[in-house]
């Protein structure tokens, strides 16, 4: 049932009027996000991620299609949606610079309808959670980018939202501040069941670390959707292992391994790490139809007198998945694609 979902979108389209021709930022997006799910939209600049968030947070009307958040329609039930969502955007210097951290948060607690005393209690709690105690009475204009984003994040949790939208939340942050923010996000999820997150990012690590499922988006369309593992398997059906041995197996060696059930291929691939480690040391690249075939490979190696020195699974990255799907890397965002986010 669409009403049971945190987010439900069907054929969602957004076209901006522009010259010389209209620009399609979203081209018929279908999306379902379950309650309690952390969902990532991964894509380059201009993919349409922010446009989708704007529609779902009621800032923008879709050109066509339908979308529901927490069971409410984004076009006609905005007041109800706004009570159960919150949003944090990154990469900007927003904030009422003349207010202190505490004042700004309290002000928003009032916009969310918290009684005064509860508002102050909530504000102080979030200041502590986000590590802004030292800055609590500091004016917003004096905060660093990372501190501002922590403040922004604290504001995003004021109403204890059912669905939290994070739009490139770590954009422009240093490594430590970005890590802190990701940790806060995971801690928020652990705080109560059913909390849903929609994250847009073009950082692979962030998407992998935070999200249960990821949609790869480009030019306003969802190209692939699944768990990080499922997405990786789209570009690499087999499991690839790098096996390092003290010497080449006897009695048929590589051919014997390649002939084992479940083994797709086995090739010698001596590289820098195996060179110089020992005169006889070898590295093999073994492709398996399934991870379970690894046991028979290790057994066969041992039976043929070789000893396992190293074992590592070779995984494709999400960027590999993106390149496979789109035909270009994240760095080479297609400006001509015309998507506007």
């Amino acid at each position: 049932m669409p009403d049971d979902l945190s987010i439900h979108a069907r054929a969602l389209t957004r076209v901006y009027k522009a010259k010389p021709e209209p620009v399609t930022a979203l081209g018929g997006v279908d999306l379902d996000v379950e309650p309690g799910e952390y969902f990532g939209l991964l894509g380059p600049n201009g993919a349409g991620k922010t446009t989708l968030i704007k529609i779902l947070t009621t800032l923008l009307l879709p050109t066509s299609g339908t979308a529901r958040v927490a069971g409410f329609d984004v076009v006609t039930e905005t007041a109800k949606i706004r009570r159960v969502i919150n949003m944090v955007a990154g990469g900007e210097q927003s904030g009422y610079g003349l207010l202190t951290v505490r004042e700004q948060l309290w002000m928003f607690s009032q916009f969310y309808g918290l009684p005064q005393r509860d508002g102050w209690r909530k504000v102080d709690g979030l200041i502590e959670v986000t590590g802004l105690q030292e800055q609590r009475d500091q004016k917003v204009r004096t905060l660093s980018t990372g501190q501002r984003q922590k403040l922004n994040f604290a504001r995003g949790l004021l109403n204890d939202p059912w669905v939290l939208f994070l739009d490139e939340p770590t954009l422009g942050l240093d490594v430590a501040a970005a890590r802190d923010l990701r940790e806060h996000t995971l801690a928020w999820k652990a705080g109560a069941p059913g909390r849903t997150l929609l994250l847009t990012t073009h950082y692979m690590v962030e998407a992998e670390q935070l999200c249960d499922r990821i949609a790869i988006v480009d030019r306003g369309r969802i190209l692939a959707l699944g768990t990080p593992g499922q997405l990786r398997r789209r570009v690499q059906a087999e499991s690839i292992f790098r096996i390092e041995l003290d010497h080449l197996p006897e009695n048929g060696g590589l051919d014997a391994i390649a002939g084992l059930p479940g083994v797709v291929s086995a090739v010698r691939t001596d590289d820098e790490s195996s060179e110089g480690a020992g005169a006889d040391r070898v590295a093999l690249k073994v492709a398996l139809a399934d991870d379970s075939a690894l046991t028979s490979v290790v057994t066969a190696v041992a039976e043929r007198g070789s000893h396992l020195v190293g074992l590592a699974k070779s995984e494709p990255s999400l960027e590999d998945v993106f390149v496979e799907l789109v035909g270009r890397g994240f760095g080479a965002s297609d400006e001509d694609g015309g998507s506007r986010s």
Binding site: D3, Y16, A70, Y96, Q110, F111
Partner: protein, 288 residues
């Protein structure tokens, strides 16, 4: 999710009141803290006084220093106009500052609080400052320029309340309109306020305006508010046809024009909000 969804309510009057109250505090923090208190006080006093004094000097030169009833008409009109300008500028600045400078409008919009009470509250600090300007200008008029106060609170109070509601209506219309415009739009309301200044009988009696403009003047609630407030402050004596009308007629026309303008302004604001949502302007930074 469905059970929880059923428990979610829309915006209540209490929500609107809480937002309004909080926005007043925000507006005051922004209005009063852009400079140190001394400079703020000097600016608050000097701006309206200098604007009024320019008019007085021009009038004195033209009339050869002959003070008269018209000087009183001029000073009271110029003083009261500070309120109109304060409301219009306050509302428009709120839109532009929150969207473009502080970049917080999108975060306010996605709260359950409506933007409407937020804007009203946010602009009220400016109205407060403009009331100081009214008092100061009138005080200078009384002390140095021969303005004679004949207070009629039974007329002044309801006229002020109705007038403020009407001017807020005009301001909210203009704020919605500015939502559609670029950052430089702050100057448009100033231009419109300037035009209204000329046609609302603030400094020129409506009878001396060109014939084509006079119907606009008669339709403006500001015209009736200024006349009712003048009578409440200094009694009768406005030049032209308007001076001959009874107090009841002036108040009735103020009420009628307000009743027409305010619902239209609210409907227009709702339409402008939807248009801004349609065009994606609520979080747009246009100051490039």
């Amino acid at each position: 999710m469905t059970d929880r969804s059923a428990a979610v309510r829309g915006i209540s009057l209490a929500d609107a009141w809480r937002s309004f109250r909080t926005a007043i505090r925000l507006g005051w923090a922004i209005e009063a803290n852009w400079s140190d208190p001394f400079l703020f006080a000097v600016y608050t006093m000097a701006k309206p006084l200098s604007a009024a004094m320019i008019l007085v000097v021009m009038y004195s030169i033209i009339t050869g220093g002959q003070a008269g009833k018209f000087l009183q008409f001029l000073i009271v009109g110029a003083a009261l106009w500070n309120v109109v300008y304060g409301v219009l500028a306050g509302l428009v600045q709120s839109i532009l500052e929150d969207r473009e400078r502080y970049r917080m409008m999108k975060y306010v919009v996605v709260t359950p609080s409506s933007l409407f009470p937020f804007l009203l509250g946010r602009s009220l600090a400016r109205v407060g400052v403009s009331l100081v300007a009214v008092v100061l200008t009138l005080a200078v008029g009384v002390l140095f320029l021969g303005v004679e106060l004949r207070l009629n609170l039974l007329l002044l109070v309801p006229a002020s309340v109705l007038g403020l509601v009407a001017v807020m209506g005009l301001g909210i219309f203009m704020a919605g309109w500015c939502l559609q415009l670029r950052q430089e739009a702050w100057s448009y309301p100033e231009a419109i306020a300037g035009a209204m200044y000329l046609v609302s009988g603030a400094i020129f009696p409506v009878n001396v305006l060109p014939a084509v403009v006079q119907p606009i003047a008669w339709a403006m609630p500001t015209t009736w508010w200024l006349e009712a407030s003048r009578r409440g402050l200094v009694g009768h004596g406005s030049p032209g046809d308007i001076g001959a009308l009874s107090d009841g007629t002036v108040m009735l026309l103020l009420l009628a024009s307000t009743v027409v303008v305010v619902p239209l302004a609210l409907a227009a604001f709702a339409w402008f909000m939807r248009a801004a949502r349609h065009k994606g302007l609520l979080d747009m930074t246009t100051g490039s």
